[in-house]
């Protein structure tokens, strides 16, 4: 199947996923166009993280279809490595490699996985370090960096693979309040550069500002969705209203 940029970059249809007897996703569908920024919000345990982990096949699904640039993810013969080269992911716990410096963390995957030239990659890595405003931290080990700095290195590490889509799984949830801002700023700039982003977040103000579309999930289903303005100001579903009233 040939994918063209006018088709959805990610197309999720009726996705079901269960851990044992517990059904986490009960038929979720949505599309993401190129350059769009999508925020998924909802109470904990509603399947948000599971959902975005399915997009790069960290979790498999039992039913339904996930198309990434026309490629079916729910396929036993899927080339997971090829998929993951296109889909970057940033985690709540940063997960930097503690035995490598910030620069090495960023350079390693392009060199080892994509077999890129070492010199070019180093140049790219230094550019990315500047982009996430960490000049001077190139040779620091993750243990020497603050949470916010580590998370920005993690974003740069993912960007170094030149992905088409970025997934952010509650990337600010483990951070100090004062460092949340710097990470959100980095993501915002990324979104403004036209990167397709799918975020799971609890930062409502941020979601309102950067998202093109917001999805609210509860108990494995998408309850309500819409552009931020209508979503936050004119929520219709009682569960959405209750959630928003608790958070805002």
């Amino acid at each position: 199947m040939n994918w063209t940029p006018d088709q959805p970059m990610v197309s999720i249809k009726d996705v079901h996923k269960a851990f044992g007897d517990f059904e986490v996703l009960k038929g979720v569908s949505f599309d993401v166009m190129k350059g769009e920024v999508i925020c998924i919000i909802g109470p904990s345990g509603s399947g948000k993280s599971t959902l975005i982990r399915c997009i790069n096949a960290l979790n498999d699904i039992q039913q339904g279809s996930i198309l990434v640039e026309g490629q079916e993810v729910n396929d036993p013969n899927l080339d997971k490595l090829e998929l993951r080269k296109k889909v970057g992911m940033v985690f709540q716990q940063y997960n930097l490699f503690p035995h490598k410096t910030a620069l090495q963390n960023i350079m390693m995957a392009p060199i080892r996985v994509l077999k890129r030239d070492k010199k070019e990659t180093e140049e790219l890595a230094r550019q990315l370090i500047r982009k996430v405003r960490l000049e001077g931290k190139e040779d620091s080990y993750p243990g020497e960096l603050s949470g916010g700095q580590q998370q920005r290195v993690a974003i740069a590490r993912s960007l170094a693979m030149k992905p088409d889509i970025m997934l952010f799984d509650e990337v600010t949830a483990a951070l100090d309040p004062e460092t949340v801002g710097e990470v959100l700023l980095t993501i915002k700039e990324l979104a403004q550069d036209g990167m397709t982003c799918i975020l799971v977040t609890h930062e409502m103000g941020f979601a309102r500002e950067v998202a093109d579309h917001i999805y609210f999930t509860d108990k494995g289903l998408i309850i309500e969705h819409g552009p931020p303005k209508t979503f936050f100001d004119k929520a219709k579903d009682p569960r959405t209203k209750e959630f928003l009233s608790q958070i805002l």
Partner: protein
């Protein structure tokens, strides 16, 4: 600084530094020296009771020390070789234990558990009597002396323990490391060699050195199967002196002392490494 005045029955409420100092049973260097001195003294006492017609126990010991030390060096050679062999095979076995192939995983697990739960002496006998004394390859005959068999016999339990150390170190890393590597499109093999194992080395070092210490002390088991290491030589020296009972204590104390002097620094260094890595992580 005044002594801190923490009046509590709950050890968890004490600052970490204070809690750790209650290690009254730690063996210190002077314990070993005292033990040696006590043994020498008691042997001197035995000597005084007996007739004074023979050379003193101490003088006899000094005469035999070069031979005993050469035997001890043999112990160290055995321990080095058994450790090297056991570590090499054990690492492969440990990686086998985390294999995704059920057959490899299962058999590695079984071999590890089997040799880990077997007495070292039995494994030594096993190697001694099951391995041939030479290998005839048709064009060349490779001799297989006792001490090589002892190395193989001792490397079996080392192998099984190293296998568990490797498996445990890998399992102790947060799963986020695997996930991050996966999402960056590393293959499983790349993840293991570039990301997981380099981080494991640190974690494996203290238990590995501990194992080496235990192995070194176990090398004297080789005397039971006739390898001329320090215990065998001590026995022979005592026999050559006509089985004088007053020599037993100083001779065996000497063997104890050299093992203590060799193993104790390793144990202390292991504790140091454990503390260092515990803080850093």
């Amino acid at each position: 600084m005044s002594k801190p005045q923490f009046k509590t029955d709950l050890p968890v409420l004490l600052p970490a530094g204070i809690r750790k100092q209650h290690d009254n049973f730690r063996i210190r260097l002077w314990h070993g020296v005292a033990l040696f001195a006590f043994c020498l003294f008691s042997s001197g006492y035995v000597f005084a009771v007996e007739d004074g017609a023979q050379a003193s126990a101490l003088a006899t010991l000094v005469k035999w020390i070069p031979l005993l030390l050469s035997g001890f060096i043999f112990n160290i050679v055995i321990s080095f070789c058994a450790m090297a062999l056991g570590t090499f095979v054990g690492t492969i076995l440990g990686l086998g234990q985390i294999s995704l192939m059920p057959a490899v995983k299962g058999s590695s697990w079984f071999v590890t558990q089997f040799f880990r739960n077997a007495p070292w002496l039995v494994l030594l006998f096993f190697a001694m009597f099951l391995l041939p004394f030479e290998f005839d390859l048709g064009f060349v005959v490779i001799p297989f002396p006792d001490w090589v068999k002892a190395i193989i016999g001792l490397s079996l339990p080392v192998m099984a323990n190293v296998s568990e150390v490797v498996r445990g170190a890998i399992a102790s890393l947060p799963s986020g490391q695997w996930e991050a590597a996966e999402s960056l499109a590393y293959t499983r093999r790349q993840t293991l060699w570039l990301i997981i194992l380099p981080q494991c080395v640190k974690r494996m070092l203290p238990p590995w050195m501990n194992l080496y210490s235990i192995l070194t002390m176990a090398t004297v088991l080789a005397s039971v199967v006739g390898v001329s290491e320090v215990m065998t030589l001590t026995g022979e020296a005592l026999a050559a002196e006509g089985g004088r009972t007053d020599l037993l204590a100083p001779f065996y104390s000497f063997v104890l002392l050299i093992f203590f002097l060799y193993c104790y620094p390793i144990a202390r260094y292991t504790v140091y490494l454990e503390k260092k890595f515990a803080v850093k992580n």
